[in-house]
């Protein structure tokens, strides 16, 4: 539903009204405020309040994390449901987490667990589409197909990119170490696609490829080449794909020419002690790099962390790899952000496209379960140290008000100062609001 009761917003985030802004554009009495800038202001027209979160780090546990073994323990349930792990106390009285989340248990006052997240899409690709775009995409062959009939809808990161733009030298929306499934820009177009770092920061030879201008080339020649290229392309007619590629070229050139951007990607400049405490794992080093990118002005970092689809013999991999990696990365990230005074302005979200079945299957694994998943949130205006919502005695369904995909998206956008009811038109003219339905989860807010 679009919120029709809401009062029309007359002010942009900086307190300039639309009418004033138009006047500024017309007379230009504020130096440098050009028409494109005006559009930019219009595009960032927001809720009018000072946003809490300037950036968001989104740790995506792809495949579906077994949150019943981590953040929503059921010690009183039968063995085939509660699983082998014991709950442990945290530094918040009354909040318990799984025994393999012991690092996070020591900082439970800094984050919040949303236990009543629930939706009804039980597929990976379809679920990712739903969670990341807020819209159930239409698939060629139902949930089995990997190919949506339309890839029309923008993902959460692309929306943030469009609404907020970058604050610094790096692109506003970055994915690593792979592109997020359904993390694309949809009908927003290439301009809002993620910059994908296609290599894993945990690798010893990690580098963001092709960023360094070739040493054979002087600065003069680099500029000359760009000038010649521009001259050759001036008159060429561009459409479709070629326009897309042209946008990417502009972005690529910006990256190469900015020393600050190159510095942001330089993970090696972090002290080894800190790197180790994030964990020498893909998720750990991605989380650390995310922090650097947020410092350099990135608005939305999507970290793709796979292998959570634990259908068979799940406990060895959960306790040896998956949970410890997530526990280290998440707890160190939150602490590190706080130490640097960045937690207040950085929202951290850790979730998957779904949870896993409460009942352990006959192959000692847990299957897909979207009806209940615990989501971790920290910083950026999230009320810390609480648990929101609860599930029944088997963690199958929420017993409190269930919060769906649209509610989570709305909450993230609210914290970032983005108006979820804003409407954009598709190339064919159909109006699509940033989020359809849902409401801000008030319980989560400071």
């Amino acid at each position: 539903m679009m919120n029709e009761q809401k009062k029309p917003i007359n002010f942009f985030c900086d307190g300039v009204s639309r009418r004033q802004a138009l006047r500024i554009g017309a007379s230009g009495f504020l130096g440098g405020l050009t028409l494109p800038k005006l559009f930019q202001m219009e595009a960032t027209a927001s809720t009018g309040e000072e946003p809490k979160a300037k950036s968001c780090i989104f740790l995506y546990l792809q495949g579906g994390p077994s949150t019943i073994d981590m953040w929503d323990m059921k010690p009183d349930a039968p063995a085939e449901i509660r699983g082998p792990y014991k709950p442990i106390r945290t530094n918040v009285t009354g909040t318990m987490v799984g025994e393999h989340c012991h690092r996070s248990s020591k900082i439970a006052d800094k984050y919040t667990i949303l236990r009543s997240h629930s939706h009804n899409d039980n597929g990976h690709t379809t679920g990712s589409h739903y969670v990341l775009t807020g819209i159930k995409a239409n698939f060629a062959d139902g949930a089995n197909s990997r190919i949506p009939v339309n890839e029309l809808y923008p993902s959460i990161g692309s929306i943030v990119s469009r609404e907020l733009g970058t604050r610094g030298s790096v692109p506003p929306y970055i994915n690593m170490p792979h592109p997020l499934t359904a993390g694309g820009p949809g009908f927003y177009g290439a301009e809002h696609a993620p910059f994908v770092i296609e290599s894993d920061p945990v690798q010893p030879d990690f580098e963001v490829k092709d960023l360094q201008a070739d040493e054979r080339l002087s600065d003069l020649r680099f500029k000359r080449r760009q000038r010649v290229l521009k001259g050759l392309e001036k008159d060429s007619l561009q459409s479709g794909r070629a326009t897309t590629m042209a946008t990417y070229y502009d972005k690529a050139r910006d990256l190469i020419t900015s020393p600050a951007a190159r510095k942001a990607f330089d993970l090696k400049s972090e002290p080894e002690k800190l790197r180790a405490s994030y964990g020498h794992t893909s998720l750990g080093q991605c989380s650390l790099l995310s922090r650097r990118l947020v410092e350099a002005g990135c608005r939305f970092v999507g970290v793709d962390h796979g292998s959570w689809d634990t259908h068979f013999s799940c406990f060895p991999s959960l306790e040896k790899d998956l949970i410890p990696h997530a526990d280290m990365a998440f707890s160190t990230l939150v602490t590190d952000l706080q130490d640097r005074g960045l937690l207040e302005s950085t929202l951290v979200v850790m979730m998957g496209e779904m949870g896993r079945t409460p009942r352990i299957n006959d192959k000692a694994g847990r299957d897909h379960w979207s009806q209940a998943q615990s989501v971790l949130l920290a910083g950026g205006g999230i009320k810390p140290g609480i648990v929101v919502g609860a599930t029944d005695k088997t963690a199958s369904f929420p017993t409190t008000e269930p919060f769906g995909v649209a509610d989570v998206l709305r909450t993230i956008f609210h914290l970032m100062g983005i108006d979820s009811d804003k409407v954009y038109r598709t190339p064919l003219g159909r109006p699509v609001p940033i989020v359809s339905g849902g409401k801000v989860i008030k319980e989560l807010l400071v």
């Binding site: 696609a193 960023l211 080339l217 459409s239 050139r253 990256l255």
Partner: protein, 616 residues
């Protein structure tokens, strides 16, 4: 969470369900006669923008009785912005011209109704027709009121047909010769020449290796080499397509020999084999029906297991040498796991089970596929070839033929398939018809047709496949790519090893060959691609190499004007426009004596134009 209500209190279905519950929920009625067919009226019609039309749906049961089920049927439009449909079967056209299909579903049966919304503002004048392809395309465009573009110029056509047919750019020499040739049939002659080039078989073997899952990790290096050699020979000899597929389906013997036997090694169980073969050669995706009735087709679980029954005799035998051999034995029927009954082995859409008095039942399936009247086989390959040359199939996705996913131009697809059959499945003959059509040779979109995405009124920009782009850069710079462990000068389209580490190939979307779906090859552009083309040390090294084309040009006797022409022919297959010449002449003036850096900079700029990266 919002749960959509399927049945509202007080409505007819509500009352009906309630009555059934109060009557004791009988699942079977003695008088039941299941629905066997569905009719939609009108099944095809033209609507004006903003117009509307009520559909009528009739169900027919086994006794031949007809019932109106309009209010019970479900409706779904594949393009709601062009024509939407409400729950009662009312169709409303939007303002955008185009075509929509409305899917109608009732009791497991499906049918489809097609709606055309023509544009009115352009009088349609029919261009010249080169062959039947144009006849059908113009027919369709005339009905929609969309004018086709003008013919592409010689250089655009030449670059397109080289890259599409043999995955290779023409050299500057070849390009110049073609452009200066004044004979009127030079396009047709070029098409004939290209189809005889050795790169034709390299390029098509590469594409079929993607489809036949020539994955080193799945079938070993020897297996991959054997399959690649076999495929190259098929295309080099222009083996009739039906014979080639028959050999694949009946493959036997060593999985490392020059044969398609390793295909079976990559696939595994009868279920995986049958659904892969169905998708690949029939264009029918049947995997949904493994667990339940296909949601938008007539295929049920029985159809799925009946088809898989053809492959139950396929087994792998380990030879004393340690290698494996595919053996075709008698085989058996499979059980439908839901009903727990045996399903007689039969092909898709056949009523009768196949008589199985043979030693290898795959032979029966092959016979059925290659039968003159098979509804899928010839259409599926015609659509695949069409899609390669136009960037979009007549049926799209290209391997998803369904009643509910009709071809955008059915008469065209039918005639292409008929032509192929008439010409004994000669793929080159079919390719010639397509390439010689005016439709293939059209230029870029113009304002009056650029929004058309499904009727081939203009050419579209298509990304070069990763291997083709890499080869093009190597050819132009004169510095072949070095592939670890491969002889120097080997081209990316010749490399059988899909796992060979290559950042370039990965970045530009080389598939890992994990499925028989063409969709695995990604052609999405990205910032990382732009960064690489612009700034990768490997590409800079090729441009700057002492042994490369740049050095040769810079040290030659050619004037700057001649060098500029040469660079344009090498990269874009055309001569520069006066404005472009001016920009580059300026560059030569600026660098003065240092011609080398001028040539390097000019080539760098040309390789980074959008015109270079795309097939137009």
């Amino acid at each position: 969470m919002v749960v959509e209500k399927k049945i509202t209190e007080g409505t007819l279905p509500y009352k009906r369900l309630l009555r059934w519950v109060t009557e004791g929920m009988n699942f079977k009625s003695e008088k039941s006669s299941p629905v066997v067919a569905l009719e939609v009226q009108p099944s095809q019609f033209i609507l004006q923008p903003k117009g509307n039309q009520q559909l009528r749906v009739t169900a027919i049961n086994t006794n031949g009785d007809r019932f109106c089920v309009t209010s019970e049927a479900e409706f779904e439009s594949n393009a709601p912005n062009i024509a939407g449909v409400d729950r009662r079967g009312g169709v409303q056209a939007g303002e955008i011209p185009g075509e929509a299909a409305v899917l109608v579903r009732f009791m497991g049966e499906v049918n489809v109704c097609r709606i055309t919304i023509p544009r009115k503002d352009h009088p349609f004048s029919r261009p010249k027709e080169n062959n039947f392809v144009d006849t059908h395309v113009w027919n369709k465009l005339a009905r929609l009121g969309i004018p086709p573009s003008e013919l592409a110029n010689d250089s655009t056509f030449m670059r397109r047909v080289y890259l599409d047919t043999i995955g290779t750019l023409p050299t500057a020499e070849e390009a110049r010769k073609f452009l200066l040739d004044t004979s009127t049939d030079k396009r047709a002659k070029l098409i004939d020449r290209l189809l005889e080039r050795p790169e034709y078989s390299d390029y098509w073997a590469m594409q079929w290796s993607d489809l036949l899952r020539v994955d080193r990790d799945a079938i070993t290096a020897q297996g991959a080499i054997g399959m690649t050699r076999w495929l190259k020979r098929q295309f080099a000899e222009n083996r009739p397509y039906n014979e080639m597929v028959r050999e694949i389906i009946l493959a036997q013997g060593s999985t490392t020999a020059e044969s398609p036997a390793a295909f079976y090694k990559a696939l595994g169980t009868p279920e995986v084999i049958s659904r892969s073969i169905s998708q690949l050669f029939l264009g029918v995706r049947i995997e949904c029906a493994q667990c339940h009735h296909h949601p938008s087709e007539k295929w049920g679980q029985d159809d799925y297991f009946a088809l898989a029954g053809f492959f139950t005799g396929v087994s792998k035998k380990v030879l004393p040498t340690g290698s494996e051999s595919i053996v075709g034995k008698i085989g058996n029927d499979l059980k439908n796991p839901r009903t727990n009954t045996l399903v007689a082995t039969r092909a898709l859409g056949e009523k009768e089970g196949s008589s199985l008095v043979v030693t290898d039942r795959r032979e029966l399936l092959a016979n059925w596929m290659m039968n003159e009247n098979n509804p899928f086989f010839a259409k599926s390959i015609s659509n695949r070839i069409w899609s390669h040359y136009f960037g979009k199939g007549l049926v799209e996705p290209i391997d998803d033929f369904r009643t509910t996913n009709p071809a955008s131009n059915e008469p065209l697809l039918e005639e292409l398939a008929a032509y192929l059959k008439k010409n004994k499945y000669d793929l080159k003959a079919l390719t010639k018809v397509i390439l010689n059509s005016r439709t293939y040779q059209l230029g870029a979109g113009v304002p009056s047709n650029t929004s058309d995405e499904q009727n081939f009124s203009h050419s579209i920009n298509r990304a070069m496949p990763a291997e083709v782009l890499l080869d093009a850069i190597s050819l132009i710079t004169g510095i072949p790519e070095k592939f670890n462990g491969w002889p120097e000068g080997i081209r990316a389209i010749q490399v059988w090893d899909n796992r060979m580490p290559s950042y370039f190939l990965k970045l530009f979307g080389r598939p890992v060959r994990a499925s028989v779906c063409e969709c695995e090859r990604s052609n999405e552009p990205s910032i990382a691609q732009a960064l690489h083309l612009m700034n990768a040390p490997e590409i800079v090294a090729k441009i700057h190499s002492r042994k490369g084309a740049v050095r040769k040009l810079a040290e030659s006797k050619l004037t700057s004007t001649e060098i500029i022409s040469e660079l344009y022919l090498m990269t874009l297959c055309r001569f520069p426009t006066p404005k472009e010449s001016e920009v580059l002449e300026e560059l030569f003036k600026e660098t003065g004596q240092d011609r080398r850096s001028a040539v390097e900079d000019a080539l760098w700029a040309l390789l980074n134009t959008k015109e270079f990266v795309y097939i137009h």
